[in-house]
Subunit: 381 residues, 2 copies
């Protein structure tokens, strides 16, 4: 159906282990793949001959002969990835090991509808490819993040809010008409979680909270993105305890999003006569020690923390990583921590780490790379 990397069976596993940085040498591969060392050597030989892997110097000794370090060949291919926001899109090219070659941000109104938006992204990809990648290096996959729910089976957008014209649109099919390659379409918070997971190699169970204009969350279970039936990870429409009562856009009263999202904080600040245009502005206000902003952020953190309390008890993750533009405001994570430590079972918080996201603002793009590689290397048989 799609042009795939010319690998078969075990070769794909090996390539993935190298690409994701889990293995750096033949010995690593043997340990992690479960194959015999001799088989690994053979497969690696083939992959090098095929131009997908390359040997590059030697690693550090672990007490014996130094390993010969393996890398994905820079000529093996590139991935084109995008992360769509409400008013802009971040997009770029990665090599097959997920290292960014070029990343840029462009203005782009999601309200223009899927056709226009996706074509604009594809045009940008073509432009970047022409400029930054020799024509001998092939494009191996295309992926994009969407600020709304994506049905994992059909890769369509389903019942998004704030995305007029997108409901039910077959994003993957549309991209497939332009690229005969593996295509990935996924919710942006899920991509972010997948990207973040690479920075916590010792943790199998992760929650990644994205605190930006909205509130998103992605879940990694046993090292893999948990999709459920397509909606997994939603925390924005959880009911919070509150004295007042705000009706959320979803029609229900007192959703977390209506109290603690960047959008909610911005409108609260504007009511106090403080001018803000983006969630990042709130961070600036907090850094400048504007009391209204700090207090608002602290309350938002406590509310998010209270919701996380339930989920930490239930899911019992190793790590809760907090990202998104608001996460740069220090009081946010502090009050999230306080709420969780206070209320959760000691057993659940015993070794729990609540920390700022490590992957930075390109987390979603990196995550798209990881998942795309997985898709491109899936056993074709």
């Amino acid at each position: 159906m799609n042009q795939r990397l010319p690998v078969q069976g075990a070769q794909g596993d090996l390539l993935r282990l190298v690409a994701t940085g889990k293995a750096e040498s033949r010995a690593d591969l043997a340990r992690l793949s479960g194959l015999a060392a001799s088989s690994v050597s053979l497969r690696v030989e083939e992959l090098i001959d095929a131009g997908l892997l390359a040997e590059e110097g030697s690693g550090t000794s672990r007490g014996g002969r130094r390993p010969r370090r393996l890398r994905l060949s820079p000529d093996a291919g590139v991935l084109a990835v995008a992360d769509l926001g409400a008013h802009h899109v971040r997009l770029g090219l990665l090599d097959l090991s997920g290292t960014p070659l070029v990343i840029e941000e462009r203005g782009c109104e999601i309200a223009d509808g899927p056709q226009v938006t996706l074509d604009r992204i594809a045009d940008a990809f073509d432009e970047l490819l022409a400029t930054h990648v020799p024509s001998s290096v092939p494009l191996r996959g295309v992926g994009t993040g969407i600020p709304g729910p994506v049905d994992p089976s059909s890769q369509r957008v389903v019942t998004p809010s704030r995305m007029p014209g997108w409901n039910g649109f077959p994003v993957a099919d549309h991209l497939a008409t332009r690229y005969d390659l593996p295509i990935l379409v996924e919710n942006d918070a899920n991509l972010m979680a997948a990207g973040e997971a690479r920075w916590w190699p010792a943790s199998e169970n992760l929650m990644v909270v994205k605190a930006g204009t909205g509130i998103g969350c992605g879940v990694i279970v046993n090292g893999h993105l948990h999709r459920g039936r397509g909606a997994a990870g939603d925390i924005s429409h959880v009911r919070v305890r509150s004295d007042s009562s705000i009706v959320c856009a979803c029609g229900h009263p007192d959703c977390l999003e209506a109290y603690a999202s960047g959008a909610a904080l911005m409108s609260a600040l504007q009511e106090s006569g403080i001018e803000v245009s983006r969630p990042a502005d709130i961070v600036t206000l907090v850094d400048d020690a504007i009391p209204e902003a700090t207090s608002l952020v602290r309350t938002a953190g406590r509310r998010i923390g209270e919701v996380l309390t339930v989920l930490v008890n239930f899911f019992n993750p190793d790590v809760v990583a907090v990202g998104g533009s608001l996460s740069a405001a220090e009081p946010l994570i502090t009050s999230i921590r306080a709420a969780v430590w206070e209320r959760c079972l000691p057993l659940a918080t015993r070794d729990l780490e609540i920390a700022p996201a490590r992957a930075g603002r390109d987390a979603a793009l990196l995550g798209a790379g990881t998942l795309l590689l997985e898709a491109a290397l899936k056993v074709t048989s």
Copy 2:
């Protein structure tokens, strides 16, 4: 370390597929295991020679030759399993495919401490083995459910409530001094979830709520029990929205358990002057249409449902199964459903099933069987 079934590598996978009822013929095994049909035939031959598998008649045709049905040999072995409650223990013997040979319930005070209790269970096992199993059929594993948290790495009981003397007790190690076999020690709600999972073969993601004296919950992700760091599945100490304020035994105010558990309902009824001694009595009262009981159960269901709302949005399971002695009260599940349908995202409830547990009162014992088999067949290499 332990006496294991005399199988190696792929043989174990095949045996497990037959034992769990996923495969009934060589052809099934080939499809599910990914091995070539010829390899499957060879391995099956070996397993039959070893006395672990047996051929038994033929199955129904799918349009061609009828498959020769495979079963675990009744002589292959038995598993001894127990489920410990506060004042009693259910225990029994299963064959390797998880079919009960004998199950009984005995009085047993958990407050007598681990040594006494576990020895009493082991004595009961020996008795049942002598009575119901020919001595030529070997015992292959021993497992028990505990009404409290169990650390999965050490299989110790950790910070249990209502289990004086058990904190930190190495249950598995203690049993291992008496049985040189695979030992399983697991939280009772988790066992129940594992047992229930076999009744929902089409569902990969399951939540199983146990509504009895306490409120427990087990989670199945991708067909496997999710343990997290050992505490996963706890929902009893989630804070509920409430006008009044009750302090729970855990020290926090307004835990779900303090409002909606069988224990809480019983004390509420007793305050109204209605005599109850076990959660099952509440079900009787509801069946007799006693208004106080019905109303209490309905409120409890709504509270549980409100908590599930958060978890359904987040985890997005295929099925929420409700078990435990209280689940026989019809209004409970109805009001859980109502709360979840009302508040959850349409996307999350689209194909969600909220249903009474299917596995019956022996769910935990059956779950122990499933997990024990897994442990006994784990690759030894």
